[in-house]
Structures are given as C-alpha cells and as structure tokens.
Amino acid sequence: MEIPYYDKERPDTGLYNGKAGIWLFLASEVMLFGALFSAYVLLRVGAEPGTWSMGLMNQWVGAFNTLILIASSATIVMAWVCLKLNDWKGFRKWKWATVVFAFIFLAVKWSYEWPAKFTHYDVTFATNESASKVFTDVLGENFEDQQKSIWERRYDPTKEHAGGVDLKDRPLDGHIVAYIDSNNVEHSIDEAWGIPFWSHAFAWRHDRKNIEKEKDKSIRYDKDGRPVYKQGHYRDTFRDKDIKAIIIVPAHGTWDRESSGDKHASRATVKYAEAKHDGNHANSDAHEHHRITIAREDISRLSSYEPAHSTFFATYYTLTGLHALHVLGGILVMLYHLLPVSRRVYEKNPVQFTNRIEITGLFWHFVDLVWIFLFPILYLF
C-alpha cells in the first residue's frame, strides 16, 4: 500500500505530506511557546520590585549562543542545498557542522550557564541591623551608593529602585565556601559540595520560617539520618545539617564575569575566592579574599539561583530548558541522518531523503527562532 503524495507534491496544495505535517506541528509549537511567553509577560508585569533579577544574566554568553544557533541555521540550509545538488559529501560536511554548533550551544548552557547559577547564592537578612552590619563589612561605611549601583545593574533601573525596598530584603550574593555546625566545627566547601552540581541546587536552601518548625514531626528521617521529604515540605539545608553559620564570598551581582574562564562551576567558585578583582568595582582591593561569616539567626532566606529562587529564575529555567530539549531532539534526528543507514535511504529514494532534510531544517529554524525571542526577553530587556 502506497500513501499518495509521500514524496511528490500534491498539485492543488503544492505540498508533500511531510511538509504539511511539519507546518502543522510547528503551529502547535508556536502555541506551546506562545503560552509560555504569555506567562512570562503576565508574571513580569505583576512582579514586585526587587524580584525580577534579569540583570544577573550574562548577555555576552547569551549573544554567543545566539550567534551559534543562527550559524547552525545557515549550515543546515547548506546541507539541504548540497543534497539538492546531489553532493553527498557536502551534505555530510554541513550536517556535521550543524550538529557541532548545536552541541556547543548545549554545552555552554548545561555545563556553564546553569551550573554557575546553581552554585551562586542570594542571602536576604532577618533584620535591617544585621543587613547593615554585613553590607558595611562587605562594601565599607558608605555602602548605600555602591549598593544602589549593584541593585540597578541587577534589576530594571528604569522601574525599580532600591529605595523602596527595605535593606534587609536587598540580597547579598556570593559563593558559599564553608559552613560552621553547632559544635563550632568549620566544614570546608569540598565537604559540603560532595554532590553533583544539579542536586546542589536543591541541597542548599534555608528559609527563616523553618526555624519555628524545627521540631516539625512531620519530617521523617531515613536510616542515614537524612530527611525523607514529601510533597509540600520545603527542603531546608540549615535544619538538616545543623548549621550555625555560613561563610560566603560576596560577588556583587557579577556572578559569572570573573569566572568566565572556568568550565567547572565548583572550581570557578574556589578560584573566585582567591581571585583578584577585575577593577570594575570601586573599593575592590579592599575586598579580595573577603570571607563573610553570617550567622543563621541573621539570615531570612538563602537560595541559589535555582528555579525556586524566584519567579524570574523559574521562568528562565522552564523556557530555556524546554528550548534545550528541542535542541537535543534536533541533534538526535540530525545524528540519525548521519548514520550509514541514511546513505541507503538516500540511494533508494533521493527525493524522499532530501525532503526529510528539508523538514528537519524547518524544525531547526523554528528552534532557532524561539531562541531569537528568548534571548532578548531573558537577557536583554
């Protein structure tokens, strides 16, 4: 049984079946991402001052990834053109180039951008006094001005000013290098970080509201003494590890610029602790190797830049994660087209194989287009 118009165009619609299918599929994809973009708009418009921290994004990394994806869109067209001209070698060359670009994109995102965020922390304070004490320690006596500039870099300066927000609610950000337990024993970062970066995000959290619930009997513990969480329980590292204070190296909202040479996030942090400042900030000399000890009582909330950090990061991870899954799917399809079996498919029916490449290309352009929308809304504006 042959399905009509499998590889040739139907005269009245001008489409072969696969092309009709992919356009319809892309229409549904537009609605999927459209809904997420709408959610972005609604959440951002409704966000309170000091919660939409998109200034933390590294625009140059984003721009680099954008260029990579645009380049891959060009190479995938070249692959299709080569196939149209019966140039099999050229097809393979350009297709491999596309796959390599796609891999670079994912590598930047999943081995650099995300891990660096998972190991970077925000601390907000229990009282204005404790906040003032810490900020004086970090930025000097006249910390207000500097703090304002950090704030404006971090949030949208046209809309949000630090002035309206209590000092205790302005976050200090940095890398945790050690913690002190209730026996006053200091545990170095390596001990605390003996876990992969992705679970790191969920391992280090604290919220002051949990102190009152410390004796919460609804938390059960397994035989190793680790808590067994169930739905609705906030994971709290301080409670679970019996932490008295943390030692943090401030980063002043410049979370990945200093560490841009590093591939691995945890090394990046250690290096940061020893690094010279790049001179971007006033007073920077005074604060190198600056280890700040913050007692547990002074902390209102501690969270890395994980999805639960804020609605901005939740949106960021959901949008870029879903997009990255599309990139991954595209890579799998393209690798399939580079397997030896494809040569046999091509020789059996060149038109059909070329159509497949065209359809893959249409999907790839769509993935590219989604990123072109994602880049400005998450990194730039």
Binding site: M31, Q231, E306, A314, L322
Partner: protein, 633 residues
C-alpha cells in the same frame, strides 16, 4: 449499486488476500502494533469505552454516597477498601489513613473520584472515542484515502494515549491516591495538595496531550493531502469537516495547557512559584515557604484557553456523526450543507476567544467581562445554525426509526437543552448566582452526556456493520435507547432545580451538612427537604442508567459474532465512500482508487435513474439537478 456489486465480486475473487499482494502480517503487527488506521481506530474505541465505563463507575460510587452519606457503598466499597490507596495523614507521624473506611468514601476519596471522573470522561473516554476512534476509522474511508497520512505517527499517537491511561490509572493506587483538585486542577490547591497523584495527573496529561497533537497533525494533513480525485472540499461529508475543525482546536488549544502543566509540574517538583502568589497560606497559620510572585489566575487562563475549545472538541464530532446518520435515515440531503460548513468554521474560530466566561467570579473588570459575554453570545449563533440545519433536515423526510437514527434524533433536543441552558452562564450577572452550582453540572452534562454520548452511541450502532459485517440487535438497541433517554433525564433534569435552589457542586455528602437536614435543632435548613430528596431520585436514575448500559455491553459483544448479518457492504444504503468498499475494508481500504463525482448527500434525487433512492459519491451516474446546482454555485 453498481460499484458495490463490483467491489463485492472483487472481494470474493481476492478472498482473504488483501488485494494488494501484501505479505501476511503477524498477529502482533496486525492487531497490536498496527499502523492501519482501522485497527488503531478500534483500539482507541475499545480503550475509550473501557474508560467510559470506569468513569461511570466512579460517579455511581459518588452518587451512592451523596444519596446515603452514612451507608457503605455496596459491592464497590469492600473491594476499594482493600485495594485503594491510603491517604497520608497530616498528623505528623507518617501514618496513613484509608481513603475508604468501612466501605464508605471519605471526603478526600470523593474529591479524587470527582477529579478523576471529569478527567477520565473528558480526556480518556469521550475525546478518544469521538475524535480518535471514529475519526481514525471513518475519516480516511470517507475521503477515499488508503490510510492516514502518517501511519506510524498514528500508532505513536495511540501508544502515547495508552501510556497516559496507564499513568492516570496507576495514580489511584499510589500513597495518597489520585489527583483531588478537580478536573480543572486549579492552583494553588493543586500545587500544594499532599499527594503525588497530582503530579501523576500532570504527567498523564502531558502524554495525552502529546497523543492528541500527533493525532491532530495527522488528521489535518490527511484531509488536506489524501482526498481522492474528485473529492473537492465541498464534497466532503460533514463529519469530515467536523473532524477537520476539531483537529485544529486540538492542535492549537492543547499546547497552552501543556505549557501550564509543565509549569505546575515545576511548582510541585522544583518548588517554583508560577501559580503561587507571595504570602500564600495553605492549611496553616503561616505563609508557605515559596518565593512567591506567581499568579493563580495564570493557571485559570491557560487552562480555560484549552478548556473552552475542548467543549467543541467534545461536541463537533458528535454533530458530524448525527449529520451523517440523520441524512441517511431521513433519505434527504442535509438542509444547508454549506451553511453548516461555514457555521462550524466560525464556531472553531470563535471558540478561542470565549474562554474567560468560565472565570467571571475571579473579579475581572466589567470591561473584560463585557467582551467575553459578547463573544459568548456570538458563538451561540453558529451553534444554533448547526442545530437548526439539522432540524430543518427532518422536514418532510421519510425517517427510518432504527436505533442509530433514534439516538441521533434524541441528540437534537438534548443538545438543545444543554446549549440553551448555557446562555445564563454566559452572562456575568446570572453566572454570579449559578456559578459552581448543580445548574452548571446539569448544563454541561446535557451537552456531553445525553448530547455527545447519544451521538457516539448512534455512531457505534451505525458503523458497527462496517466494522464487523453484522448489525447489533435492533430490539435491544431500542431498549438501550429508551432506557438511556429516560434515565438520562431523570438524572440531570432535577439538577437544574437543585442548582437554582443553591446547592453547590463538590459536596461529598450531597449537601447534607450544608442543608442541616439531619440536625434536629435546625427546623429550616439551607436546602429544603424536597431539594435534598432529589439526590435519591438522581442516584436511582444513575443506577437505572447503569443497568441499561449492561444491555448495550451484552448486545455489543454478542453481536460481534452472532448478530444478524448485514445485507451487503452498504446495509444503510448510504452515499458516502466508506460504504462503497468491502466489509470490513481491506488493508489499503479500496480495491481501486475511488473517483468521486457527487456531493455527500445525494438522497431521493428524482433525476437519477440508477434504480435506487441514493447516488453513491463514486457512482458515475449523472444527476442533472446536481449539475445545475453546481453551476449555480
């Protein structure tokens, strides 16, 4: 009849050979992992009928508990007490309490049954039956295609549906039990509810949505690309048009719910706050430990952006089937075929801009409410056009009162009641009173239960001879019909009255506590005795309804092997192409590629001298009046 005779002889010559020189497929590839649209259609049909029954059993348990709040549920209760999930107690010791205690449904169990009744009926039963099962089986045959456009995608669609069904079913038996935040899964309740059933629900929904998207792409591409020569757009049977619009609704309305589902899953698994505002309280005196900044309204918007088109996903295939069956059994062309096509297209478009009429109680501004009231009133116009055309088609018809046509005829007033009672809900000011009352339940059940399900029954009786070569019993079919019609109205008509009287939905004891009916200290409760006593009447109706369905189930399975043999390939003397192939159709559907010469409803045309009162779409006989009509158009 010529074409039919020809195909019959050819079928006899070819015998069991499929007529295309195909290698014989193994049992597994032929019946389980099949890419044949007919087998997939039947797989969908069986799966969705099973879930139709499961959804019905859930509601029977609930109805029992509402009529008799303190009495154990007979039969179901003792079984569920043993196998059903336990609830995680909030007392802190990690203890669990049974959701079924002493054979009675607790409030959480009631919530789970309610949420899953809605989910199962909508997403696992009626959409798969109307859209996927009948669509798969009938649409490629009606347009003269050998199969769907992408047979393997079609198979993937079914297996994604199957996986979704498994996840949904399993969620009843995990610790904590199934989802219990209603089929709408409003956040923040759904985000914080202490059972993983809600996460299962979300994963199941993502699988079901994937299945629907693959199906929708396939249907649209098939209808665009694979129409047989001569099958122009205005020669498509109306059922195909209805499926075409339905597929577009699924294609474009489902992805926003998928996005919302992903976000709610993030809320539950990664502790984000997409739908949780700052300082939200949940079962306690302290705000939850979440970052906040989310919006519960966002979920409602995204949900109802799917939810309202979903209503038309439920009803349009039904209208399509009723159109086919009525035209065939009145032996008349459908009145206003092009008007109906225009109507269904407008309906499909408008259904995307009415969603917020489900949300009047969220405190939206009167300007926005006005917009949605207006669009809601406008969308009733194409609905009324469709229904009017169908009523007009009856005029001066020689109606054959067989089982499919009786179900189809009953569809018209039932859908009419359902549709017209929706108008007060479309207006802001009346909705304020009626919202979340039993009036709403009665309204949408009139649309879906005696409406869509009657049409689905009609379709089952109508296409059964095509699938099996045998008819279902007419006598028991009529028993099934009259029983269903009577009991459906016994069930749903009193709910209008209960709703007017102010009975809220989702009360696990049927309003007993609310009405204070059992409290000797209260002389006059919030609900009067007569309103409360309707619960018993409705429950009796529901059990009668169940009894009548037993007749259908027995009739269905008995007739597959023992039913009266259908006379020829075209027992209903129908014009459309699915009746012009051998029964059951071979792999590849048609022995020779059909060529279409006529519109779909050439019944009782006096100009045709082929010795019959109908003109099959691929019958090369000329019809002068048809030529004149086409020239005029």
């Amino acid at each position: 009849m010529e074409t039919t005779t020809q195909s019959e002889t050819e079928q006899n010559e070819h015998g069991d050979d499929h007529g295309h020189g195909h290698a014989e497929q193994s049992f597994l590839t032929k019946y389980i992992f099949s890419t044949d649209h007919k087998v997939i259609g039947i797989q969908y049909g069986i799966g969705s009928l099973v879930f139709l029954l499961i959804g019905f059993i859930l509601i029977m348990g609930m109805r029992w508990q509402m009529a008799k709040p303190d009495t154990p549920v007979p039969v179901l209760g003792p079984i569920l007490e043993k196998v059903y999930a336990h609830e995680i107690a909030l007392d802190g010791e990690g203890k669990t309490v049974p959701i079924f205690k002493d054979g009675k449904i607790t409030a959480s169990g009631y919530n789970q049954f309610g949420a899953m009744h809605g989910t199962i009926m909508v997403f696992l039963a009626i959409v798969p039956l109307g859209f996927a099962a009948f669509g798969n089986y009938v649409v490629p045959l009606q347009i003269g295609a050998p199969d769907m456009c992408f047979p393997r995608v079609n198979m993937a669609s079914f297996w994604a549906f199957f996986a979704g069904c498994i996840v949904m079913t399993v969620s009843f038996f995990i610790p904590g039990g199934a989802a219990q935040a209603g089929w709408t899964s409003y956040s923040p309740l759904a985000s914080v509810i202490p059972t993983d059933g809600q996460s299962y629900w979300l994963v199941g929904m993502v699988l079901l949505i994937t299945s629907s998207l693959l199906g929708a792409v396939n249907f649209i591409a098939t209808i665009i690309q694979l129409r047989a020569p001569g099958m122009t757009w205005f020669r498509l049977p109306f059922f195909v048009w209805a499926q075409f619009v339905t597929a577009f609704l699924l294609l474009l309305a489902f992805p926003p719910l998928e996005a919302a589902g992903i976000m709610q899953l993030m809320d539950r698994v990664c502790d984000t706050s997409f739908f949780l505002p700052s300082g939200v309280f949940a079962a306690g005196t302290e705000p939850m430990n979440v970052s906040g900044g989310g919006s519960p309204l966002l979920w409602q918007h995204l949900f109802w952006f799917l939810g309202h088109p979903e209503v038309y996903v439920l009803i349009l295939p039904a209208i399509g089937m009723v159109t086919e069956i009525l035209s065939n059994n009145t032996r008349r062309p459908i009145w206003g075929y092009k008007l109906m096509v225009g109507g269904v297209l407008v309906l499909g478009f408008l259904s995307f801009i009415v969603w917020a009429h489900h949300m009047y109680l969220t405190g939206m501004s009167s300007k926005i409410a006005t917009f949605f009231q207006t669009t809601t009133m406008i969308i009733s116009i194409p609905s009324v056009i469709l229904l009017t055309c169908l009523f007009m088609s009856l005029w001066r018809g020689a109606i054959r009162f067989n089982t499919p046509s009786m179900f189809a005829l009953a569809f018209l007033p039932m859908f009419g009641i359902g549709g017209l009672t929706g108008l007060p809900l479309g207006f802001n000011f009346t909705d304020l009173h009626l919202h979340d009352s039993y009036y709403v339940i009665a309204h949408f059940h009139y649309v879906v239960a005696p409406g869509t399900i009657f049409a689905l029954f009609a379709g089952l009786y109508y296409w059964f001879p095509k699938m099996t070569g045998r008819r279902m019993s007419e006598y028991w079919g009529k028993v099934h019909f009259w029983g269903s019609l009577i009991f459906m109205n016994i069930i749903f008509m009193p709910m209008f009255i209960q709703g007017f009287a102010g009975m809220s939905r989702r009360m696990s004891d049927g309003g007993a506590t609310y009405s204070m009916i059992n409290n000797p200290d209260v002389t006059s409760g919030a609900l009067t005795d007569s309103i409360m006593n309707m619960n018993s009447l409705i429950t009796m109706g529901a059990f009668g309804m169940g009894l009548v369905q037993v007749v259908f189930i027995v009739n269905f399975f008995w007739s597959i092997r023992n039913g009266e043999k259908a006379d020829g390939d075209n027992p209903w003397k129908a014009t459309t192409l699915e009746w012009q192939t051998p029964t059951p159709p071979p792999h590849g559907n048609f022995l020779t590629e059909p060529k279409v010469y006529h519109g779909p409803y050439e019944y009782s045309n006096p100009d045709v001298d082929n010795g019959e009162d109908f003109l099959a779409q691929n019958d090369p006989h000329k019809s002068t009046s048809e030529d004149i009509r086409e020239a005029q158009a």
